[in-house]
């Protein structure tokens, strides 16, 4: 009844094929769980990048950071984000039961896929989420080339 369960792999060890498939699935899922195209362990703040033909939008979660202390600079195709999160001044007689939130300065540099129109970079900060709009430099935009018929 269960004689040829893996008919296709009759000649090789069917479990080896299973193992290969499992490894492949693990790899795919691990990549997926990390949010897709993650290369290395990110540093603070974690960033997401969104793009279309017009430009790139970078979002970063910066809870508790004063927007006035966020510094964004763009040189060519490199975005640098610096800032700090201040420790609340709580005075004396404060006892911490739990500390999970970090404080201090942060710097991140992000390589963009193209040069940016530096004058038109805009940023908003809402509910602790920073959003930076980086329009693609006019000279770097893809150009549509029309094909003329020779007739």
């Amino acid at each position: 009844m269960f004689r040829q369960p893996f008919g296709l792999y009759r000649t090789s060890n069917p479990w080896r094929e299973f193992e290969r498939m499992r490894r492949e699935m693990d790899r795919v899922f691990n990549e997926f769980n990390r949010g897709g195209r993650l290369s290395a362990a990110p540093s603070f703040p974690a960033m997401n990048a969104w793009r279309n033909e017009e430009g790139v939008v970078i979002t970063a979660e910066l809870p508790g950071v004063n927007p006035e202390e966020i510094d964004i600079s763009v040189v060519g195709d490199t975005l640098t984000l610096t800032g700090s999160r201040q420790l609340e001044d709580l005075g004396e007689n404060v006892k911490y039961h739990r500390r999970e939130r970090g404080y201090g300065k942060f710097t991140r540099t992000f390589q963009l896929p193209f040069a940016v129109e530096a004058d038109k970079v805009g940023a908003t900060f809402e509910k602790g989420v920073l959003q930076i709009l980086l329009p693609r430099a006019e000279a770097e935009k893809p150009r549509k080339i029309s094909v003329k018929s020779a007739a």
């Binding site: 949010g35 793009r51 939008v57 910066l62 404060v94 039961h97 939130r101 970090g102 602790g128």
Partner: protein, 139 residues
Amino acid sequence: MANNGTNLQTQEVEKQEVEVAEGTERTRSGKAYIPRADIYETDNELVIVADMPGVDENSLDITLEKNVLSIRGYVESLAPENYSLAYAEYEMGDYERNFTLSNDIDKDNIAAKVKNGVLHVHLPKAGPAKARKITVQAA
């Protein structure tokens, strides 16, 4: 202050997902994360500070049932329109965390505020039970 806390640069960036009890499911689609929190105590109160980026006063749900304080924050997708995600280091999702309170909290005067994606919950300590003087009246 003696304890300066962790440095932002070395802080783990990855969000920790809420574990769902076996046999139950979340009713909202998407993931839920445990917000990173500080808890400190002053002479008069206990304060919970939680990082909940993407949350404001309208998307927070704080309930106290018996001794359990539940904090829930609902995050609407902040995806920019007409853009597609090209690179991701973090995922967006709701926040959930429960704290068990001790009995000496004045449960009627709990106050909360949220600013720049950081929630502060102030839990005042119940005042010391006032010694009640019982007057003895002459019969």
